[in-house]
């Protein structure tokens, strides 16, 4: 029973993370009907930015180490911001990079009315640039966050009765709480503010929204900022939990994120949250004997959902218009 409870808590923590990561994907998809393949790279970028802002040192294998040493006398930035501040600023860095991606990879194609599949390729190209640029700058080693990064919090918190402990790592609680705060804020923003309403109008029909006087271009930029921000937070939280496992680690999460948004229905915002939790819980309940196959769960689900309910778990079937 305790094990069961623990699996559920683990599943909820990782599920909340999948949820915010997938929200970033689905926001862009809901507006532009294209998949932004740089999302995985922004995820890693946010993690590295946060890592640097906390004042942690970089490895000498990247170019950044020698640059920092030359300017600051040590292979780190000359500051040591608290973790939460770094998290927000690091996510902002990812958000700004997302806006840059929009301008480079998406806007030129959109202005010309090109095939949406081309945007997939151009964003992949930018993603390859970003990932390898990061590798050039910081190297490929694992960057674990220092133990002291969360201050004096204990490593694990007991959720059971004293005799029957259900320990949960503090990192996972941080993960869950931060993600849930973001989900709530985003839901409020989209449903209750004027900008959110405009965003929904653009998602419904870009041309009509534009004719009604909505500055669609600015809203698309905002969407990319939000998307990158969410990706950056997710990256930092994963980095906090298991270490930043090289610039390529974002790609694997990027692919899993695809499974999540398909589960929830492409472009469906509540669906992305449901899909995230569904995947997190499904992965948590893979029997220990088959744990090596855990990474296949996401893709098996993706495949099955696409074949049986391509509109996603929550969505309604789209009518194919001629």
């Amino acid at each position: 029973m305790n094990l069961f409870l623990q699996q559920i808590l683990n599943g909820l923590a990782i599920g909340s993370l999948y949820a915010i990561f997938a929200l970033g994907y689905t926001l862009v998809f809901s507006i532009l009907r294209v998949i932004n393949f740089t999302h995985g790279a922004l995820f890693a970028l946010g993690a590295y930015a946060t890592y640097l802002l906390t004042g942690s040192a970089v490895n000498p294998s990247g170019v950044l180490a020698s640059l920092f040493s030359a300017f600051f006398g040590k292979p780190a930035l000359p500051l040591a911001l608290p973790f939460l501040v770094s998290l927000v600023l690091g996510a902002c860095v990812a958000g700004l990079a997302g806006m840059l991606v929009e301008r480079i990879a998406f806007k030129p194609l959109r202005d010309r009315g090109a095939d949406p599949l081309l945007a997939l390729v151009s964003s992949l190209g930018v993603s390859i640039v970003l990932v390898n640029l990061m590798q050039y700058l910081v190297g490929t080693e694992i960057y674990p966050f220092p133990d002291t990064v969360l201050g004096n919090l204990p490593r694990a918190i007991n959720f059971g009765v004293p005799g029957k402990p259900v320990p949960v790592r503090t990192v996972q609680i941080v993960m869950f709480v931060v993600s849930m705060i973001l989900v709530v804020l985003l839901t409020y923003f989209i449903n209750a503010t004027k900008t959110g309403k405009a965003l929904r109008a653009v998602a419904e029909d870009t041309t009509t929204a534009y004719l009604l006087g909505i500055n669609t271009d600015r809203l698309i930029l905002l969407t990319f900022f939000l998307s990158g921000f969410l990706g950056g937070v997710a990256g930092t939280l994963v980095g906090l939990s298991v270490g930043i496992n090289g610039p390529y680690f974002g790609i694997a999460y990027g692919l899993k994120g695809l499974a999540v948004i398909v589960l929830g229905g492409l472009g469906d915002i509540p669906g992305a949250v449901v899909g995230g939790f569904a995947l997190g819980l499904a992965e948590a309940f893979v029997p220990a004997h088959y744990v090596a196959y855990k990474d296949a769960v996401a893709f098996a689900l993706l495949f099955i959902v696409l074949l049986t309910r391509p509109q996603g778990l929550l969505g309604r079937a789209a009518v194919q218009k001629v």
Binding site: Y136, F299, L306, L307
Partner: protein, 308 residues
């Protein structure tokens, strides 16, 4: 000339194999289906060749018999074809981005399986795959004719009923359906043709690379092949072939550039370590500025007119 072939044998063969893989992605695209499944079939074909040739080694110290390589290629093609039909019939009801996602999932599932099964050697993979040729350039005797045959096949395909049905599906599926072209039948056919080619290329590559592991069929590979097709040009079979040849040679060209004297040291270092950055930038620039790819049907017909 001889030393040139010896030095660049690996590169030349890689280029030819890459061009064939680009064609394997182009075939479903002819029918308008964006499938990224090629690396999955490529990996499958490679594993078939690797397992068969290491489990049943050739007698003596001689080169691996050529007929066995050909048999492995045949078997890899057959197995890929059967798997393609099994996967294709349900998956090809999906369109556009959904099909692309389903094929990404297919490749990832195969990758996780090959990482964990005993027969594929797990994460380590399979080593010491026997060599049918004494030099790497020798593989051109197999890879070259395969590429030429596939090109000839695709060239003919574009001009017969089946190929025209593919193009009709690409331009407008609904209209094609109402003209009596069965979308499912032709889509699965296009998908299967691509899969067979990818499987055969995989069987050659396993011997060529001497080792085979789960890194051969990954999402990264899907993307490279897609880049070959889209940068080369996705409207004629010449495009993917040119894309595959050029983009495979590109990293080596960039490496050669670093040797040019008079280059500032930082630029030299960037060209050496940052090759993939330039590669990615070229893919993005290509997609934005040359949406039709480098080789377009228009360009080909102009060339033809230039000739007397």
């Amino acid at each position: 000339m001889g030393s040139f072939f010896n030095t660049y044998g690996f590169l030349l063969t890689s280029m030819v194999l890459a061009a064939s893989l680009a064609l394997s992605l182009y075939l479903p695209l002819m029918a308008g289906q964006l499938s990224l499944a090629s690396p999955g079939f490529y990996a499958l074909g490679g594993y078939i060749a690797a397992v068969l040739s290491t489990r049943y080694p050739a007698a003596g110290n001689t080169l691996f018999p050529l007929w066995r390589l050909l048999a492995e290629m045949l078997l890899a093609g057959l197995a890929s074809g059967v798997l393609a039909v099994l996967v294709g019939v349900p998956a090809l009801r999906l369109r556009g981005i959904y099909l692309a996602l389903a094929t990404i999932a297919f490749v990832e599932i195969l990758r996780v399986l090959s990482l964990n099964l005993a027969i594929t050697g797990g994460a380590v993979g399979i080593f010491g795959i026997p060599q049918p040729f004494s030099t790497q350039i020798g593989y051109l005797w197999i890879a070259g004719p395969l590429l030429l045959l596939s090109m000839l096949f695709t060239y003919r395909l574009e001009r017969i009923r089946v190929g025209r049905a593919f193009v009709a599906l690409r331009e407008d599926e609904l209209a094609a359906d109402s003209m009596g072209i069965s979308p499912t039948c032709y889509k699965v056919l296009a998908f299967t043709l691509g899969a067979v080619l990818a499987g055969v290329v995989g069987a050659i590559s396993a011997h060529f690379l001497n080792t085979w592991n789960a890194r051969q069929g990954t999402f990264d590979a899907s993307i490279s092949y897609l880049a070959f097709v889209l940068i080369g040009g996705s409207r004629t079979f010449v495009g993917p072939v040119v894309g595959g040849l050029v983009l495979t040679a590109l990293p080596e060209l960039l490496r050669a550039l670093t040797g040019v004297s008079g280059l500032p040291p930082w630029l030299g270092q960037f060209l050496r370590d940052g090759r993939l950055i330039i590669y990615g930038a070229l893919i993005a620039i290509g997609a934005v500025f040359f949406p039709q790819g480098l080789i377009t049907p228009d360009l080909l017909s102009r060339w033809r007119k230039l000739q007397p």
